[in-house]
Amino acid sequence: MSIKNQLGRAGIAALAVAAVAATAVLGFSSAAQAQVEVPLVESGSSLLYPLFNLWVEGYTSVNPNANITTTSTGSGAGIAQAINGLINIGASDAYMSDSQVKAHPTMLSIPLAISSQAINYNIPGVTKLNLSGPILAGIYTGKITMWNDPAIAAANPGVALPAHVIVPVHRLDGSGDTFIFSQYLADSDPTWASTLKFGTTVSWPAISGELGAKGNAGMLAAAAANPYSVAYIGISYAGKVASAGLGQAALLDKNGEYVLPTPENIQAAANSVANSTPPDERISMIFSPGTNAYPIVNYEYAIVDSNQPAVAVAGAVRDFLTFCVTQGNAASYLKQVNFLPLPAPVLTLTEAQIAKIQ
C-alpha cells in the first residue's frame, strides 16, 4: 500500500517535472523560431573545419540571426551523420562513393572549394626533387627502398641523391588526404590500381622502415623528425611545412611534365575538368589532363540530404551554402587555408545542386 502510494507520488512528481521541462523547451523553441533562424549543425572534415568557422563568422556578421554550430569529426563521420539526418551539413574531403549514392539516392555531394596536397620530403642536401605516381607507388609498396634508386635518379638528372633508405610516412587515421594520395597512385600506376585501390584508409603493405602518423600535424612532425622521409601533407599546412624545412616535390602530370603545387598549377587542374564535371559533381580531379595541371587536386564537399525535414531548415541550409560558394569563395577566406575558389562552370552546377535542397 505505502509502496504503491509513494511510487504513485514519485511518478506524479516525475511527470510534473517532465511537463515543465517540455513546456520550457517547446516554449523556448517556438519563441526562438519567431526571431532567430533555424539552428544548423555542420560536422565532418577536420581540414574544412577552420574554413567553416571563418564562413560562419562571416555569414553571422551579415546575417546576425544565424545559428550554426560547427564540429570537427572527420569526413567519414560527416557523411554518415548527414545520411542519418543527425546533422544538416556533412563536410567531406571526398565525394560520396557510388555504393553510398546507390544506397542513399537523395544525398548530394556539393563542392565548396578546391584543395590540394603536397608531397613533402626531408632529404639532407637535396632542395629540388621530381617524383611520379609510379615512383611513389614503388616507395609505398617497398619496391623502391633507396633514394638513389635508378627510377628516382632518372626523374632527377643532375641531383645528387643519397644512398640512403627511404622512410615512407603515411596517415594512421582515416583521412581525405590518404584518399586523394592513393587515388593519384591508383590513377597513375596500374599495379596499385589493381591491388591497393584507394580509400580514406589503405591497407598499407608491410615495409620495415615505414611510419604511420596521426593527422597532418603528426605527418609534419614525423617527416621533420626523420631524415630521408617522404610524406603527403594537405596544402593548408604548406606554411608550417616550409618553416619546418621540408622540401616540396614536383609531381609528374598527365602530360609528362613535373609540376609544383602552385596556385596556378592547382587552378589549371581544376579548369581542365571544369567543363566535363557532371551535374552531381562527383568527379575526381586527380591526375587530370591539362597543361601544367598539378595531379593531386580535389574538391572539398558539403554532403547534404536534398530531402530536408522542414521548409525552414532547407531554406537556411541553401542560404548558408550559397554564401559559402559566393562571398565565402573570396581570397580573404580561402587564402588562410591555401584553398582556391570554384571555377565559374562548377559554381553554376553547385548552385543548381544547392537549389535542389528542399
Binding site: 569526413s75 555504393s99 620495415s208 630521408y228
Partner: protein, 308 residues
C-alpha cells in the same frame, strides 16, 4: 523489508551502473557477431587488416555481403598491445619499487608527504601531454642515439611513455602498503641485527608482495587500454609484426581511434562491426586483467589480517 522512496531511488541508481555495463557488452556482442561469423578464428590469428574496397559495390564473400578484399585480422594489434604493456611493466616495476622504498624508508617523515604527492601528481598528467612529450623529446632522442635506422617511433617509445604513466600507480600502491607494515616487525628485524637493506628486503617486502602484484596488474590494465599517447608515438605499424623494439606497432585502442572515421564510409556496415569486434577483444582483455587485480589485492588484505 520496507521499500521506501529513498531505498527505491538509491536501488535504481545502483542498478544503473551494472545495467550500463550489460548494455555495453550486449551492444558490442551484437555488433561484432557478423565479423566473427565472417572471419572465425582468423580474426585472432591473421596479421592482415583491410577494410576492403569501400568505394566500389560490395561483393558476396563466404555468404556475406562485404567490401571487396575485406579481411579482418588483429594479431598485429594484440601483439602491439601486449608487447608495449609488458615492456612498460618491465621498466616501471624496478622504478616504482625503488621510489616507494625511498619514500618509505630514506626520506625524513617531514618531507615525505610533499615528495609522495609529487609522485601522485605524475599519475594525473593527461595522457595527451605524455604523448606530446614523447613526440618532441623522446622520439628525437631514440632516433638520434638508440635506433639503428634513425627512426624513433615504435615499440620502445610507446613502452617508455606507458612506463612513465604507470610508475606512479605502482609506486603509490606499494608506498601505502609499506607504510602499513607494523612498526614491531620492522623494529624487531633491526633488533636482530639486520642491516637496513635486509630489513626492507627480508622483513618488509615479503609482507607487501601481494599488494605489489595487485598494483602491477592494476597498472597493466591502465597500460593495455591507453589510447592517445600510444597512438601518437607508436608509429602505427599495420600488416606487419614487430621484429625489434624499434619496430612501429599499433595497439588495439590506438587502432580503434585511428580507424573509426574510415569505418563509417562502408555501405555494408561491416567495417563498423569489425571495429566493434576489436573493441570487444580489448574490453575482455582489460576486464580479465582488472578482475585479476581485484582478486590479488583482496588476497593482500587477508595476509595482513592474519599477521596481526
Amino acid at each position: 523489508m520496507k521499500l521506501g522512496p529513498f531505498r527505491l531511488s538509491v536501488l535504481a541508481l545502483a542498478l544503473l551502473i551494472p545495467a550500463s555495463l550489460v548494455a555495453i557488452v550486449l551492444f558490442l556482442m551484437v555488433y561484432s557477431l557478423p565479423v566473427f561469423k565472417f572471419s572465425g578464428l582468423h580474426f585472432f590469428t591473421d596479421i592482415n587488416w583491410n577494410f576492403g574496397d569501400t568505394e566500389d559495390d560490395p561483393v558476396m564473400t563466404r555468404g556475406m555481403l562485404v567490401p571487396g578484399g575485406a579481411s579482418y585480422g588483429i594479431l598485429v594489434f594484440i601483439a602491439g598491445t601486449i608487447l608495449s604493456s609488458a615492456i612498460a611493466i618491465i621498466i616501471a616495476v624496478p622504478l616504482s619499487i625503488g621510489a616507494a622504498i625511498f619514500l618509505a624508508e630514506a626520506v625524513p617523515p617531514k618531507i615525505r608527504p610533499a615528495l609522495s604527492m609529487l609522485v601522485e601528481l605524475v599519475a594525473v598528467v593527461p595522457s595527451i601531454v605524455f604523448g606530446l612529450w614523447g613526440i618532441w623529446v623522446l622520439i628525437p632522442f631514440i632516433g638520434h642515439y638508440l635506433s639503428p635506422t634513425g627512426n624513433g617511433y615504435g615499440l620502445l617509445a610507446a613502452s617508455v611513455v606507458l612506463a612513465l604513466m604507470i610508475t606512479p600507480i605502482i609506486a603509490t600502491t606499494l608506498l601505502d602498503a609499506l607504510m602499513q607494515v607494523p612498526k614491531e616487525n620492522r623494529e624487531s628485524a633491526f633488533a636482530l641485527g639486520a642491516t637496513h637493506f635486509e630489513v626492507v628486503s627480508k622483513a618488509m617486502m615479503p609482507m607487501v608482495r601481494a599488494t605489489l602484484i595487485g598494483g602491477i596488474v592494476l597498472a597493466l590494465g591502465r597500460a593495455l587500454g591507453e589510447t592517445m599517447a600510444v597512438a601518437m608515438v607508436s608509429g602505427g605499424g599495420v600488416n606487419i609484426l614487430p621484429t625489434s623494439i624499434f619496430s612501429p606497432i599499433s595497439s588495439i585502442a590506438s587502432f580503434i581511434v585511428n580507424n573509426l572515421d574510415s569505418s563509417q564510409g562502408d555501405s555494408t556496415n561491416m567495417s563498423v562491426y569489425a571495429i566493434a569486434a576489436v573493441a570487444l577483444v580489448l574490453f575482455l582483455i582489460t576486464l580479465a586483467v582488472n578482475a585479476a587485480a581485484k582478486l590479488l589485492s583482496s588476497g593482500a588484505l587477508h595476509v595482513r589480517k592474519r599477521q596481526h
